[in-house]
C-alpha cells in the first residue's frame, strides 16, 4: 500500500484505472447539486458526474436568476438604470453603482466634483469590507464552521447602519449615481465611520485566529481547486480569484478610477505555505485558501483607504450641481467600456449611446460570471466535499452571474 503523505493533497487520479478495479464494479453517478442548495451561494446548479466520491466532471448550469437587465437598460435613462445595477451583485451594490456611473460619465464627458470622488471611494471600500465579511462568514458556514458567520454579520450590521444613515437603504443603495452621489453625508457620519474603523481593525486578526488558521479549515481548503496564474488569466478570472493565483493585478492600481491613485494601499496576493507561520503548511498558490485569505487581507487594505479618504475628504458639491434638478444626460453616438475592481472581480460596463438620452446597448460584464466559468476546469478529479470549498472560494453571487 502506498504511503499517503499527510502534508500535501494526494493526487487522486494517480492510480485511477477502471480496468484494475478487480471484481469491484463501479458505476458513474450523476449528482445534481442545486439550484436549491445551502452551499451554492444562490441559484446555481452543478451536475456532477462522479465515480464514488470522486468527481470526474462538473457542468454548471446558470440562468436561474436571469432578469435580462441589459434589455431594460435599452429603455431607461442611465440614472434610472442605476437601481438595476444594484441588483446584479446585490452584496456589493455601491461598487456596482460606481462602475456604471463611471462608464456613463466617461461616455458623456461629465467631470465629477472631488468630494463625490472621495465619497465614492469611501462607500466603495466600506462595501468591499461588507462583501468580504459575507464571503468569509458563508465560506465558514459551507465548511461547517457556524460561529464566524454571526461574527461577520455583526460587523456587517455596523457597515449597513452607516449606509442606512447616508442613503436610507441597507442593500440596494442606488446611492452612487451618474454625476456623484444622491445625498451628502449626514452630520456626525465621518466620526461614526472612524469609530467603526477603529473597532473593526483588530477584529480581522481575531477572525484569522478563529477560522483562517484553523486546522480543519486549512485541511479542507489548502491545495483544493488549484488554479495556476496562466490559467487564471486565460479564463478571465479577476479580483481575489486572480490575485489568489499570485497575479498582482488590481484595476485600482493599474487603471485607476475615481482618484484611487491618491491613496496608499497594497495589493495582497496568494503566497505558498512554508516554514514561516503566516501561511499554513500545505497551501499552494492558487488554491481555495489563497483566494479566501486574499479577501481577509483586502479588508485591512480597505480600512487603510477609508481612513485616508476620511482624513482628506474635501468640501464642496456631492454631485454635479445641475444634476440636483435634472439628471437627464444626452449620450453621444459613441461607445465606452469601463471596468472597476469590485469585491468579486472586475465588473465592466459597455455602454453604446446613439445621440439620445437612452443608451442603445448596455452590457454588464460580471466578475462572478467569468470566475464561475473555471469551475468545470478545476473541479476535475476532486472529491464531492471539495466542490463547496471551491465554489465558496470563488465567491459567486448569482445576481451578477445571471444579471
Amino acid at each position: 500500500m502506498t504511503e499517503i503523505s499527510l502534508q500535501s493533497q494526494p493526487d487522486l487520479l494517480v492510480d485511477y484505472d477502471r480496468g484494475e478495479q478487480g471484481d469491484v464494479d463501479t458505476e458513474e453517478l450523476l449528482i445534481n447539486m442545486g439550484p436549491q442548495h445551502p452551499s451554492t451561494h444562490g441559484v446555481l446548479r452543478i451536475v456532477l458526474r462522479c465515480d464514488g466520491e470522486m468527481v470526474l466532471e462538473a457542468v454548471p448550469h446558470i440562468g436561474y436568476l436571469h432578469r435580462c437587465a441589459e434589455k431594460i437598460g435599452e429603455s431607461l435613462q442611465p440614472f434610472q438604470f442605476i437601481p438595476y445595477t444594484d441588483r446584479m451583485d446585490y452584496v456589493a451594490g455601491m461598487n456596482q453603482n460606481q462602475g456604471f456611473a463611471l462608464a456613463v460619465e466617461k461616455l458623456a464627458g461629465i467631470a465629477v466634483p472631488p468630494r463625490a470622488q472621495y465619497l465614492r471611494v469611501i462607500f466603495g471600500e466600506l462595501n468591499r469590507i461588507a462583501s468580504h465579511l459575507v464571503s468569509f462568514g458563508t465560506y465558514g458556514l459551507d465548511m461547517g464552521a457556524f460561529t464566524p458567520f454571526l461574527y461577520a454579520f455583526r460587523e456587517r450590521e455596523m457597515v449597513l447602519d452607516l449606509f442606512e444613515a447616508a442613503c436610507g437603504a441597507r442593500l440596494t443603495y442606488s446611492y452612487l449615481t451618474v454625476g456623484g452621489t444622491t445625498h451628502d453625508l449626514p452630520e456626525g457620519w465621518v466620526d461614526r465611520c472612524l469609530e467603526f474603523c477603529d473597532y473593526f481593525e483588530p477584529k480581522i486578526d481575531e477572525y484569522n485566529d478563529l477560522l483562517s488558521f484553523n486546522h480543519i479549515f486549512v485541511k479542507r481548503t489548502a491545495g483544493v481547486g488549484v488554479v495556476s496564474a496562466g490559467d487564471a488569466v486565460r479564463w478571465g478570472l479577476s479580483g481575489p480569484c486572480l490575485r489568489g493565483s499570485g497575479v498582482r493585478w488590481d484595476l485600482r492600481k493599474a487603471l485607476p478610477y475615481d482618484g484611487y491613485e491618491r491613496f496608499d494601499f497594497d495589493i495582497p496576493i496568494g503566497r505558498p505555505g512554508g516554514s514561516d507561520r503566516t501561511v499554513p503548511h500545505g497551501v499552494v498558490v492558487g488554491d481555495s485558501w489563497c483566494r479566501y485569505f486574499v479577501r481577509m487581507e483586502e479588508m485591512k487594505q480597505s480600512l487603510r483607504i477609508v481612513r485616508q479618504a476620511l482624513r482628506d475628504l474635501p468640501g464642496g458639491d456631492h454631485i454635479v450641481p445641475k444634476f440636483k434638478k435634472n439628471k437627464t444626460v444626452k449620450l453621444p453616438d459613441d461607445e465606452v467600456y469601463l471596468e472597476v475592481d469590485n469585491p468579486r472581480g472586475q465588473v465592466g460596463f459597455y455602454v453604446r449611446g446613439d445621440g439620445s438620452a437612452i443608451p442603445a446597448r448596455v452590457k454588464a460584464r460580471g466578475g462572478s460570471f467569468c470566475n464561475l466559468s473555471i469551475t468545470s476546469h478545476v473541479v476535475r478529479g476532486c472529491l464531492i466535499a471539495d466542490v463547496p470549498a471551491i465554489i465558496g472560494s470563488i465567491d459567486v453571487v448569482m445576481g451578477e452571474v445571471d444579471r
Binding site: 496564474a229 453604446r352 467569468c370
Partner: protein, 177 residues
Amino acid sequence: MTFEQIASLLRERFAGAVEEVVPQATRPYVTVAAERWPEVARFLRDEPRLKLNFLRCVSSLDLLAEDSLAAVYDLATVPDAEAEEVLSCPHTFAVRVVTDRAAAHIPSVAGVWPAADWHEREAFDLMGIVFDGHPDLRRILCPEDWVGHPLRKDYEFPVEYHGIPGTTEHELNSPRH
C-alpha cells in the same frame, strides 16, 4: 503601445482584415473582418509587443439600421506571473466583428482565450450570433427551449411560456414600449 500604433501594426500585418479604425471613439476600436478574426486574435494574444492575453468582455450589438449584428471584444494585457511592479500603462484594445443579421456567423475564439467560451454562449443566447467552431454552443442564461433572442431590437416577448403568461391583455392592447 498606443491605440494608433496597435491599429497600424494590425493594418500592415493583416492587409485587408482590418475594415475600419475608429480612434475618435471614447473607447477606440478597430473593425476586423469575421473570416480573418481568429488569426488576428491569435496575433493579438501572442505578439510579444502586445500580449493581449486577457479577454475582458464580449458584448453583442444589434445594428438594426445596418441590418447587421456585431460582437465587440475588449482585451487587456495582464501580467501572468507575479510581477513586483504593476504595469503602469497597460495595453487595452477593442475589436468589433460585424456579421449579417440574416446569417449571423462569427468564428469562435474560444481556442485563443478560454474565457470566450461562456461569453460567446451568452452572445449566442441573447443576440443569436452563431460562433463557428465553439466547443459547446448552447444557451446559457435562457432556458434550453426558449424561442428567440431577447436582446435583438425586433424581439417579440412571448405571450406565454409553458402556461406562464408573459403579458397581460391590457399590455397586448396598449403596449408601452
